[in-house]
Symmetry: C2
Subunit: 204 residues, 2 copies
Amino acid sequence: MNSSTSTKERILTAAEALFAQRGFDGASLRQLTSAAGVNLAAVNYHFGSKEKLVEQVFKRRLDALNQHRLAELAKVAGKPATRLEDVLAAYIRPALELSHEGNGSLFMRVLARAFAEHDDTLRQFLSENYGHVMKQFTAEFARLLPHLDRAELYWRIDLVTGALTHAMSGFGMIQRKDDVSEQQHREQTAAHLIRFAAAGLSHP
Amino acid sequence: MNSSTSTKERILTAAEALFAQRGFDGASLRQLTSAAGVNLAAVNYHFGSKEKLVEQVFKRRLDALNQHRLAELAKVAGKPATRLEDVLAAYIRPALELSHEGNGSLFMRVLARAFAEHDDTLRQFLSENYGHVMKQFTAEFARLLPHLDRAELYWRIDLVTGALTHAMSGFGMIQRKDDVSEQQHREQTAAHLIRFAAAGLSHP
DNA sequence: CGTATGCTCAAACGATCGTTTGATTCTGCC
DNA sequence: GGCAGAATCAAACGATCGTTTGAGCATACG
């Protein structure tokens, strides 16, 4: 038995940090296992290969994030009183909360990297484990923005996604004023992103 | 003498394509020189190192792009009749035109990669060769959006930059309808981005 | 107790990386 | 033509990569 957490979990945590810092290729298994305090061979023993490890790093966070987002979406989807901002909040707030709990912000940088890399296998993995979420949100956006045709809507969602991914990948850097609590800071940031996204989506 | 173009230029062109496709680390000098049809040692002979080559790939395109952007900005900056959309056009249109001339779209993907990577030396190089352009545009944005304080303006510009970088990195993928000329398609795309950015920047 | 199973470990494997070397070829100028 | 400097070439360098190996250790079960 290991010090408080399992070897697999220690590897995943160290991998997330190192991937965010140096990229998937840039982070070597020797740096990674050294940081995690495990043997070099442990990665191939527990995950099979480095590529599988990358997928598991995504899966661990994305499963929780997607579940949270869909739960929030379900609260407002289809209801007459729902505003565009409510749907955006269901998309943005879970990501913000993730990035403020232990080392979660590193995952957003990993995600931003994955978006920039046009690697086919990674993109396919992302669309398999991420696509159904985007589909549900897109359907709700379409309902709330009936004046936009399909092509126009896709365009705007893509632009909003780019802005949010870019912004969230830098959250670790954003300075929080000392007189503002973390709770308040997160609320202000969420309000910022939601208003920006709403303006970009719904402008005439 | 080489076939029509110099060795340096052939390396730069091949490097741009391979960096966009496989990333800076993922593209090896052996793949690169093989694609360029030059000897492996040519990169270190002409550029000194792989890292210097990366910088030159950026410099070749960014010098032209920045010059073009600043020239367009100079036409409208400070004038009373200038609208926000005019400034955004000065920023967006040169990038769009670059991405539609020979292999220029590949550079936009390289740029998107560089944004995602938080590599310090690369970011420093970018801010040295790119920062003064952003400063001039920011000043003009500030003039046209006097109701926003400094922090708010920076926030919105950052979000817009994220959206545009994300969008432009995918331009090679965007399907153009057969009944639309490339000139028209570029105009439509520019109008899209400009309206989106204007809405995101100027919303109340 | 003995043994089977899951895990960890140091060491080595072959492959590939960026870079360097020294010889060879090409180019322009007297 | 001959020579100097630039450019290209095949080959090798040491380093580092992901992965595999086989022995060693721990734990749990009969």
